[in-house]
């Protein structure tokens, strides 16, 4: 029983991490049709910025996380303004440009801080464990889940209640018509990139807690599962991404534990293949 609870909480934590990456990916794809291969790089930037602020610059963890998130957000905005926006009329080249960034950024991080994993600062408050139904669960799992739930609620409120949320929802349906109503939809693009970058960078910072260390390839590794989550959830749907994140995280953890290492990842892939064959449009039926 306690194993099940532990696996469940860990799976939820992993799912939360996936959601932090996938929510932005999904929004960006839905609004802009850009499959952002640089999203893993944004996560890595957030992770390294948090690590640097905490371990090198001596900031407390509670300041390092906002700092890392901020750096990731700025990176995302710069990416949108200087790489994506000039290629607005060339959608396929936008994707290719993000592929280039996705290759270059981890290499740069490796060049600066080396290829080896760096131990991530763990504040005393979050390094402990909680006892849940007899299981001993690391606190950071709950931190991740809380962050993901908070993000989901914020995003839903943003989309439902604000004017920019309205613009984003309309833009996912028909970008050209949004501009034809006199709205500069490019500002919404930048905003969505900023939100996605912030979420990914926060994922990087909290992922450091989860894994205990940071390395240059972490973002790219998570990106692929985030892609799986986005496709499963129906591209462009935040709620779908949330549901798929939980599913993928749980399946991975349970399969890894009960069937041997590595099979969890395989089972996720099989799950995706089966889902796409049964429902080619994803869970929410929104494949562009």
């Amino acid at each position: 029983m306690d194993t099940v609870v532990l696996l469940f909480c860990t799976g939820l934590g992993l799912g939360a991490l996936y959601f932090l990456v996938a929510s932005g990916l999904s929004l960006i794809f839905g609004l802009m049709d850009v499959l952002n291969f640089a999203h893993g790089a944004l996560l890595s930037i957030g992770a390294y910025a948090t690590w640097w602020a905490g371990a090198e610059a001596g900031l407390s963890f509670w300041l390092a996380v906002p700092f890392g998130t901020l750096v990731g957000t700025v990176a995302a905005v710069l990416l949108e303004l200087f790489l994506i926006r000039p290629l607005y009329s060339r959608p396929r080249d936008q994707i290719l440009a993000t592929v280039g960034v996705g290759l270059a950024v981890p290499a740069l991080l490796m060049g600066i801080w080396g290829a080896d994993a760096r131990p991530f600062p763990q504040p005393a408050l979050l390094s402990g464990t909680w006892h849940v139904f007899g299981a001993t669960v690391p606190v950071n799992r709950f931190v991740l889940v809380a962050a993901a739930v908070l993000l989901l609620l914020t995003l839903r409120l943003f989309l439902a209640r604000t004017r920019y949320g309205l613009i984003v929802r309309a833009g996912v349906e028909d970008r050209a018509m949004v501009t034809a109503l006199g709205i500069d939809v490019r500002r919404a693009f930048t905003l969505v990139f900023a939100i996605g970058g912030a979420a990914a960078a926060l994922g990087g910072a909290l992922g450091g807690l989860y894994f205990g260390s940071v390395n240059p390839g972490q973002g790219t590794g998570l990106l692929i599962f985030a892609f799986v989550v986005v496709v499963m959830g129906g591209m462009g749907s935040v709620t779908g991404a949330a549901a798929a994140s939980v599913g993928v995280g749980l399946v991975q953890q349970f399969a890894n534990y009960y069937t041997g290492a590595g099979l969890g990842d395989l089972s996720v892939v099989v799950l995706l293949a089966v889902l796409l064959l049964v429902r080619p449009r994803g869970l929410t039926g929104r494949l562009a």
Partner: protein
Amino acid sequence: MTSSLPSSPSSTPRAAASTSSALEPLLSVRDLRVVIDGLHILHGVDLDVAPAGVTALLGRNGAGKTTTVKAVMGLVPRTGSVRLAGAELSSLPTHLVVRHGIGYAPEDRGIFAGLTVAENLRLAERGARGGEEGGEPDYALVHELFPELKQRAGQLAGTLSGGQQQMVAIGRTLLNRNRLIIADEPTKGLAPKIVSEVAEVLARAAEAVPVLLVEQNLALVRRLAGTCAVLADGRTAHRGDTAELLADEEAARRLLGVGSRHPLAGGPRPAASPATPVVTTEVKP
């Protein structure tokens, strides 16, 4: 009529158009060209929209009417001159074109199906902050013309009927204080009863705001439009008075592909003319 629209000095839109045709055109398009993926769609469209009433943009399917309207809006890459009340718009992105005071109801209505009716309208509000360009959103007018939109405010626009969706599309153009309304085939696919309702709304809108109307329904055009331009093969083939054009059976057949009086009547085949002469009869009083 208990409209909040300011009453026009002339009784019908047509009369308004003919009396005002001496004035400068509100929208003036010159040598508009569009090339998409190396394919020349428009080869030089000239078009004037009268400063009052309805101006019709006519032509057969594939003549380039919708592309012309999209080029004016900046929705497709274009060259040439597009001047609205003296301001050059041809180099502006779409949202700035709109902020010069153009309300646009596109061919496929451009409704956001996953948004509610109220949200569709709210999205169209402009200048809510400064209050300068679009003015306060005129919900009173929209709800007076389309009471249904008020009742169905919370309904998803995708579940509306075609006629109701068209009401949302036109309602969006009336929400702001626009200088010009462009309606691209607003009656496409609507039942006859709804067509006449849409026509009524357009007539009333045109009393306050000039309208550029793309339309296939010639009966509607005859009733509403004072002046017209006819496109053929991506060029302006004719400009002039609508009534005159529709009265000329031969010209209407040649330019529009159907007899103007009886679209279903066969009539004699036109003499095989080697090349279509381009008629450009400017209407000058």
